[in-house]
């Protein structure tokens, strides 16, 4: 029985060999740049490796140190989770709402507005303009504006004061995060058959919001899933914005996320083994969260 199944699958594979051949190049890249590094990282996480000398096996010492002896890790972990929890859903729903709102407009206007919303992400590092807006100099944009209004009398150090820098980074993050998910939602809205809306209207849907929640979203299952995966990966992998605005390291590690900490350990501090251990923990965390979200969405969406 098992053998029959195996032979059956093999035959199927041979029939589809053209498809496999097409996928092969990408598979190679995927293997080389994703699978192998992850596996290597797993093994390296049990060593002490400063990259210039050979690795030394230390067992689970890295993990012990991470959870019990490293307050920066704890800080970074909490920062990352807070970040993800706040910016993830906010930007997710922002994408959704904006996509829904501009869905109504004529195609040209929609195209223009899509461009406008997507522009921050597309331009890569444009968010550094916020460094000028939040500059701690009294001539910085926000500071001089507030001083003119009389709200503050001295320049506020937005990006170096622990009280304000997290909020600033979150604001910029959300601003810059209308990314690929946004586009997929727009596409998703387009694919829904309008006859469903007519049927719903006849059946007594009262307003647009109800239509959104009961009809549109369930039909957009795949897009919502894609959006969720992208946002979560993005939120947990956030670091670039924090580094660009507040520098690295941030004051008292208030803006340090796991990604920043890992890259700091690996590249600046020559502690590759420890960095691998930490990145593995991050990996596990992301998989966990992803699974949870996907279960939730799958429950509420119809295929």
């Amino acid at each position: 029985m098992r053998k029959d199944l195996f032979l059956h699958n093999l035959k199927k594979a041979r029939d589809n060999k053209v498809c496999y051949l097409m996928v092969f190049p990408f598979l190679l890249f995927f293997l080389a740049f994703t699978i192998i590094p992850v596996v290597a990282s797993f093994f390296l996480s049990f060593t002490n490796y400063n990259m210039l000398e050979s690795a030394r096996f230390v067992g689970i010492e890295n993990y012990i140190r991470m959870f019990l002896d490293d307050d920066v890790f704890i800080k970074a972990l909490s920062n990352t989770i807070i970040f993800a929890v706040v910016t993830g859903p906010i930007s997710y729903f922002a994408c959704l709402i904006f996509a829904w709102l501009i869905n109504e407009l004529s195609p040209t206007v929609r195209a223009i507005l899509t461009f406008v919303f997507y522009a921050p992400t597309m331009s890569g590092s444009l968010y550094v303009i916020w460094a000028f807006i939040f500059s701690g100099d009294s001539y910085g944009l926000l500071n001089s504006f507030l001083q003119t209004l009389g709200v503050v009398s001295e320049p506020v150090q937005w990006l170096t004061d622990t009280k304000t820098l997290v909020t600033c980074v979150m604001v910029v993050s959300v601003w810059a995060s209308l990314g690929a998910s946004f586009l997929s939602f727009i596409a998703g809205f387009q694919t829904i058959d309008t006859s469903v809306y007519e049927a719903a209207a006849i059946d007594g849907i009262r307003n647009r919001v109800e239509e959104l929640v009961r009809i549109t979203l369930p039909l957009m299952g795949p897009q919502l899933m894609f959006g969720a995966v992208m946002q979560i990966a993005g939120a947990f992998g956030a670091g670039g914005i924090s580094q660009a605005l507040c520098g690295y390291p941030t004051t008292d590690d208030a803006g340090t996320t796991l990604v920043l900490l890992i890259s700091d350990l690996g590249t600046e501090r020559y502690e590759m083994g420890y960095a691998c251990a930490m990145s593995f923990v991050l990996f596990a965390l992301m998989i966990l969260v992803n699974n949870i979200i996907q279960t939730v969405i799958r429950k509420h969406a119809s295929t």
Binding site: N50, L52, R56, S138, T148, Q157, D161, D252
Partner: protein, 945 residues
């Protein structure tokens, strides 16, 4: 009784009246503060411009008076009479010449001189005195160019042209004396009355032999028509058929080191040109633009005659701008029209045949055989306004500061400041400046400059000043705009003096010859670009020079830029390889040395790397210990004491410094003068002047970095770290007090935490502050409007128990300079030879001067070799001050886990300053964190070691 009453009342009235008067006079004493400070700023000596205006009505001298050098009075050891003339070798020495003038008149001073040094490449400067006095301030700092000749252009094995070498020339040169203003088109004109006179030359930067000095009438060439007639009357004919092309990059002599051949790959018609190889095909571009920079070419004419002259030129650097040059043939201006030849803006090359406005070409006389053609940068038509604009900027900046004193930087929008009443005189100043700006703008428009962008600056200022004069309540909210417009005007005047020009080649042709086209056609260029694209896949332009196959070649990585790399490569091949036979390959590879080590592709020598690299590698056994070499001690002596401390682990040394910087105190002396303040030398004096500065709304530019903290600790005989690098050493009470002192600047005294020191110092808002000393080079070149109004002083120090002042600095060792490391055990002997050669005095001096010539004074190299530093372009006075401060610098050790130090010091600083935590307690917490990390690293390293 009535009489008595009358008496009493009279007396009472009299007393009352007297008291009223007394009251008025009392109030008169307590005038507004700004009154005392609004004195006009007057120079102690008049300017050259004013002097010229005074003597403009006098006639020119009619005779030529050659000064007798043999009877000169000399003073000082560095000047001596020789067979050829008078030789100067050191600064500060002077020679005085006597002569008599028969009839009074205006004259120039013509000097024949020659350079007598092989190694001094800086400009020759003198201070000149007539009859013992300087009639205007720019008689000081008179410059004679030191001429350079360029070597032949050679190719490397891939066919790329190698930048040529410029060597100092020792031939006799003849130059007239120019005043040292930034923009003077003509030689210095002095009025000599009839009778006995003395002329004194005091040397500043010398190494020169002066052979002849002549007082002669100013150059006054005839106009073209007369000159042409004169030649034709002498039988010289206009040549009909002749074609001679001289390439611009084949120069004969140039007056400064930045006039080297450049490369134009934008158009296939530039000669020589190749789509594959890099060819040097023009002179100038963006490098030939400063006043008096001259290029000379040698032209061989078959026969005597009158020829047409055509330049293939391009001015594509400044939109709408006209660049000017003065043409001389065999040292003389051929005719009046050659005083200023204009080149207009064009993105493409132009064939410019020199001729009159109707298109008729000029014919130039060339004698048979060798002729020398030279083009000298002269200020263009707009440059005369630069003076005027500079004065307007000064005046506006002064007004700006006066307003800030009253209004502060935090302007209250709802208050009536009544500035015209509060600060008497500024209304007039605004009116005057408005009139001047309008006048300048009008004159520029008349001069025919087309560009709108030039006018924008002036139009904005006019609008703003009119707004101010309309209602003085418009001023407070727009005072920042006033500041930025003043800076814009300063930039305009600075840039307007620059006259960029590029010359590909020039032609001497006969009357009938056809001229080639300036640019290649569209299709030709298309083909060229396409071929270039293909070639870019094959040729590696990131590596300079020959790629040698030899086994023993050294691989050197440079962490700075491509100019540095190519200069280094040239010097390495011509000096190092020539002497030792070791070939060197130089590559630009920035900061990825540690990654290269991991991949086993590391170079042999890495230069200009980050300050923490030697220790990071040293702890991990990846860099070579330099103390194993025999002459290490000798090399150690090239640097300031204590320079190697950040690179030593125990007795082993893992790196050497390439560049080192240190901080100086920058002070706006004009602001201090107007406030009556003395520059502080101790912290107590500093605290004493703070109230006055801050009361007048000035701010202090003391940075909040850890260097300040570390330096303060050193001044109190403490140190951030234990000498054995096992931890921090700030647990003592004194350290806590120092920490308190440091943070109080920002809490109690409210210094700004972040500011753009350069801009604010320039505008005068921040009249005192600390910054790296190279800021001086920037200010000197980029901020001409504040010349003479600022100075560098040694750092503020702490008074010790024995009364001496300790103003040493202690920057953190891992961040304060760039370093060099050796990485390859197998090639260590040769690598060490190379490193020694690079950091030696001669190489560093030559390298530094070349970089400065190529990239400008702004990029003057802060070299670490003390002897080489003395040979860079700093003036003698500045150099003394700098050396004094530099010698007091002692960088801290670099501990394992050093990256945590800056972070936690910053965290501590911010906790104390932003959140008002207790300094002692916070310092303790963060130093403990640093210690923990250090301990962990020590454990890690002791296992490995």
């Amino acid at each position: 009784m009535n009489q008595l009453k009358r008496y009493v009342s009279t007396v009472l009235v009299a007393c009352f009246c007297l008291s009223v008067f007394a009251g008025i006079s009392v109030r008169a004493e307590g005038q507004s503060l700004s009154d005392n400070l609004s004195g006009t700023y007057s120079a102690s000596v008049s300017t050259y411009e004013q002097y010229l205006a005074e003597i403009s009505d006098k006639d020119a001298l009619t005779e030529e008076i050659k000064l007798d050098l043999s009877t000169a009075e000399l003073s000082g050891e560095g000047v001596a009479k020789t067979d050829g003339g008078i030789e100067w070798r050191q600064s500060g020495n002077k020679a005085t010449f006597r002569f008599s003038v028969k009839t009074a008149g205006n004259a120039n001073i013509n000097v024949i001189y020659s350079n007598i040094s092989e190694i001094n490449v800086n400009k020759i400067t003198f201070d000149v005195y007539l009859d013992g006095e300087q009639l205007f301030n720019t008689m000081a700092g008179v410059v004679f160019p030191r001429w350079f000749e360029s070597s032949e252009i050679t190719q490397d094995e891939r066919g790329n042209d190698i930048s040529e070498e410029l060597t100092v020339n020792k031939a006799d040169m003849e130059e007239r004396v120019y005043a040292s203003d930034l923009y003077q088109p003509d030689p210095m004109l002095l009025y000599f009355s009839a009778g006995e006179h003395t002329l004194t030359f005091v040397g500043d930067n010398t190494d020169v032999l002066i052979k002849e000095i002549t007082v002669c009438p100013p150059e006054k060439p005839d106009n073209y028509e007369d000159v042409l007639k004169k030649h034709q009357n002498n039988g010289v004919k206009i040549v009909e058929d002749y074609f001679d092309k001289i390439q611009g990059e084949n120069t004969y002599l140039v007056s400064s080191q930045n006039l080297i051949a450049g490369m134009d790959r934008g158009d296939s018609s530039s000669e020589p040109n190749d789509y594959y190889a890099l060819k040097l095909n023009m002179i100038g571009g963006s490098t030939w633009k400063s006043n008096r920079e001259t290029v000379k070419w040698m032209v061989n004419a078959d026969r005597e005659g009158l020829y047409r002259l055509t330049f293939k030129s391009r001015q594509n650097q400044k939109d709408g701008f006209i660049s000017s040059r003065r043409l001389r043939i065999n040292g003389e201006i051929p005719f009046e029209e050659c005083r200023s030849i204009t080149f207009s803006y064009n993105t493409d090359w132009e064939m410019k045949t020199l001729g009159d406005s109707e298109g008729n070409p000029y014919y130039f006389y060339l004698r048979e055989g060798e002729n020398i053609i030279s083009l000298e940068t002269v200020p263009g038509e707009l440059s005369e306004f630069a003076y005027e604009v500079d004065e307007i900027v000064l005046s506006l900046n002064k007004v700006y500061r006066q307003i800030i004193m009253v209004v502060g930087t935090n302007i209250d929008k709802y208050r009536d400041y009544d500035l015209f009443k509060e600060i008497p005189g500024i209304e007039e100043i605004f009116k005057e400046n408005l009139a001047r700006v309008k006048e300048v703008r009008r004159k520029i428009g008349e001069a025919g400059v087309q560009t709108g962008s030039e006018m924008v600056v002036f139009d904005s200022v006019i609008t703003l000043l009119e707004l101010f004069l309309a209602d003085d309540e418009n001023i407070p909210s727009r005072v920042e705009t006033l500041n930025s417009y003043a800076a814009d005007l300063a930039t305009w005047s600075f840039e307007t003096v620059e006259q960029p020009l590029a010359i590909d080649y020039f032609l001497f042709t006969g009357k009938e010859n056809e001229l080639p086209k300036a640019n290649a056609g569209f299709f030709k260029n298309l083909k060229y670009e396409f071929l270039k694209l293909l070639a870019s896949f094959q040729s590696d332009y990131g590596v300079v020079g020959d790629l040698s196959d030899s086994e023993d070649k050294l691989l050197v990585w440079v962490g700075s830029g491509s100019e540095q790399m190519s200069i280094l490569k040239n010097m390495a091949s011509s000096e190092f390889t020539a002497k030792t036979g070791i070939e060197v390959e130089v590559a630009l590879a920035g900061t990825s040395v540690s990654r290269a080590l991991m991949a086993d592709k590391a170079p042999d020598v890495a230069l200009q790397q980050a300050g923490d690299l030697p220790m990071d590698l040293g702890y991990r056994n990846s860099a070579i210990d330099l103390t194993q070499f025999e002459d290490f001690k000798e090399v150690e002596g090239w640097f300031m004491p204590g320079s190697l401390v950040p690179y030593m682990i125990g007795d082993a040394c893992y790196g050497l410094p390439c560049t080192q910087s240190f901080e100086m105190l920058f002070v706006r002396t004009d602001v201090f003068e107007s406030l009556g303040l003395k520059v502080p030398t101790t912290w107590d004096e500093f605290y004493a002047i703070l109230p006055i500065l801050q009361f007048n709304n000035f701010e202090i530019g003391l940075g909040g970095g850890s260097t300040t903290f570390s330096s303060l600790l050193k001044q109190n005989d403490l140190s951030l770290f234990k000498a054995d690098r096992t931890g921090t050493d700030v647990a003592s009470d004194l350290a806590a007090t120092v920490c308190r002192q440091w943070t109080e600047f920002f809490t109690k005294y409210d210094f700004p935490l972040t500011l753009n020191f350069y801009n604010r110092f320039r505008s005068g808002e921040v009249p005192i502050g600390t910054s790296v000393y190279t800021l001086a080079a920037q200010l000197d070149t980029l901020a001409p409007e504040i010349r003479g109004m600022w100075a560098m002083y040694p750092m503020i120090g702490t008074v010790k128990e024995d009364g001496t002042v300790d103003n040493s600095q202690a920057p953190l060792g891992d961040g304060y300079g760039s370093t060099a490391v050796l990485l390859n055990e197998e090639s260590k002997e040769q690598s060490w030879e190379f490193l020694k050669w690079f950091l030696s005095e001669d190489t560093q001096a030559e390298y530094g001067n070349k970089i400065e010539a190529r990239l400008g004074v702004v990029d003057r190299v802060p070299t670490s070799n003390v002897a080489a530093f003395k040979r860079l372009g700093w003036s003698a006075e500045t150099r003394e001050v700098l050396l004094e401060q530099w010698s007091k610098q002692r960088p801290t050790v670099v501990v394992p886990g050093h990256y945590y130090v800056t972070r936690h010091l910053n965290n501590a600083f911010r906790a104390i300053v932003y959140s008002n935590e207790n300094p002692t307690h916070t310092l303790k917490i963060y130093s403990q964190k640093i210690d923990r990390e250090i301990k962990r690293k020590l454990q890690e390293f002791s296992i490995y070691q």
